[in-house]
Symmetry: C2
Subunit: 308 residues, 2 copies
């Protein structure tokens, strides 16, 4: 019965992501901020933290990333990808044409502007501190409607006026489930590895060299982001997500090469991808574990004095 | 007397950044969201938009970047970098020990947690929709104190309890001033160029190749970020900031090379860097405009049949 700390309050997309991963027995614990959710796991007060890492509609992802790069290391064991689709909740009995105010987190309101204009043209949008706080405000009579994560409907005694609300199709938001370092998840053949690197020197081309280490081993990059390193202008951390699992030879070899090139290299986990990718799943010729084993045997033979 | 649309309300860091750039005669216009500030410039209702692009304490930078990558192109003509240092405002006459509640944007509260614990231990932090909205709340008696941008003190009749408040020294937030395309700012010798690229093919190593085009010309990268391309999994836009001005030969040559390699290449401007960098300002041997001119003359001579 592990406990999962998530970025609350109850009814956020982070809770929705935690539920997508959790078993029936797991205890879900809302935390006030993302860093507090991570701190709870570091302190052993929770087993797993569920935090947004990409395209969040409810908070600053950069603060999350900064918090993962320092302090005690945490390691991702799973990711959850959710479609950015909202529910619109109203006080029971209220009809659409009676809605005069609609509240949500500003990031969420920005993503349903078109829908609101079409379906609730008389409602004036109001910013709340989170999508879930907007639902609480409706409950307390502060606003008529709230734009929320679908899971909010299960916490608050409100009516669902609409679901699957989004101006743009296909937008996704991504979460990681992190725990203290331990046994790695087994490779599935469709895994992702996350790392944070700080180059050993701030030379022109140093990032091109690091990415070439990956490319030479046929490793596909799925995300890259630079962040200033502890406020020092001109020094950067790079956050990389790449295809593959660290137990695979090509990934391990590339990470070892980065370790030689980097001042800091933090492993943030190898975990199954939420959607198995169609393209890019096949390992490029010359980069399979078999290729690495054969090359290792050849090298050992040469060093041993035989000429295979 | 140009008008500058910024991410409001009055008293935000975006206003502070706009003021750092504006002349005395300029009209500053608060807009409700970043996309609305950009839309005002596209529609000709404002001359310049001042929007956060990095490490914002008041909103989602990713939404800004997405808005810059589509619709009518806008071009940056200046950047403003501000230290992330807050002021704490209270109702006139209220002493520190009387402060029971302190409000701000959650991102701002997260960055002054240590300071609040030390200086206002009895105050419970409350989330507001922006740092400026927190000041309005104090004015209306909703909270005792607000953590705000320094400029908020000039708009709201509140007392300054503390200034230069920040848990971590050296954190910076960055803004761009954007206008409709026109004459470029003249090169100063310490400029930055911003672009958005979408690779022509989603091959392994395509980003390493693009960055190598920059590295081979001695161009220093100062920022990189990937964003999903219109919600398509596995397709990415890359946002790059690099040292140099597009009128310089090595930068122009590199951008032309990227144009050959990319499906989309959007120029977001060449503008003076806010802080002239000490390292990296010198152009690497073989990459000066003089080197390019000499190489061009040599090539023209060879093509003309002479052997220089």
């Amino acid at each position: 019965m592990p406990s999962i700390a998530y970025f609350g309050p109850q009814g956020t997309f982070s809770e929705q992501a935690a539920r997508a991963h959790a078993g029936d027995e797991d205890a879900l614990v809302p935390m006030r901020t993302v860093p507090l959710a991570l701190a709870a796991v570091r302190a052993g007060e929770a087993d797993i933290a569920c935090v947004p890492v990409e395209n969040s509609v409810e908070g600053a992802v950069s603060a999350t990333m900064d918090a993962l790069a320092v302090d005690e290391p945490l390691v991702a064991v799973a990711e959850v990808v959710l479609p950015v689709r909202f529910s619109v909740l109203v006080r029971p009995g209220l009809a659409a044409e009676e809605v005069r105010t609609v509240a949500s987190h500003p990031h969420a309101l920005a993503q349903v502007q078109g829908w609101l204009g079409e379906h609730l043209p008389a409602a004036s949008p109001t910013a709340a501190t989170s999508t879930a706080a907007a639902a609480v405000g409706v409950l307390e009579g502060e606003w008529d409607a709230a734009v929320t994560a679908p899971v909010a409907a299960s916490h608050y005694a409100l009516s669902v006026l609409a679901t699957d609300v989004a101006d743009v199709d296909g937008a996704m938001t991504r979460f990681l489930l992190l725990r203290r370092p331990g046994e790695l998840p087994a490779p599935t053949g469709s895994d992702r590895t996350s790392i944070v690197v700080v180059a050993a020197a701030e030379r022109t081309g140093v990032l091109a060299e690091m990415l070439t280490e990956l490319a030479l081993r046929g490793i596909n990059l799925t995300r890259i982001e630079s962040r200033p390193h502890q406020g020092q202008l001109g020094r950067y951390r790079f956050y990389l997500d790449l295809d593959g699992h660290v137990v695979e030879q090509r990934v391990g070899d590339a990470l070892a090469a980065l370790h030689r090139r980097c001042q800091e290299l933090r492993f943030l986990g190898s975990y199954p991808k939420a959607e198995p990718s169609l393209a890019g799943a096949a390992v490029l010729t010359g980069n399979t574990d078999h290729d690495y084993a054969a090359a290792g045997e050849w090298l050992a033979a040469v060093r041993g004095g035989s000429t295979p």
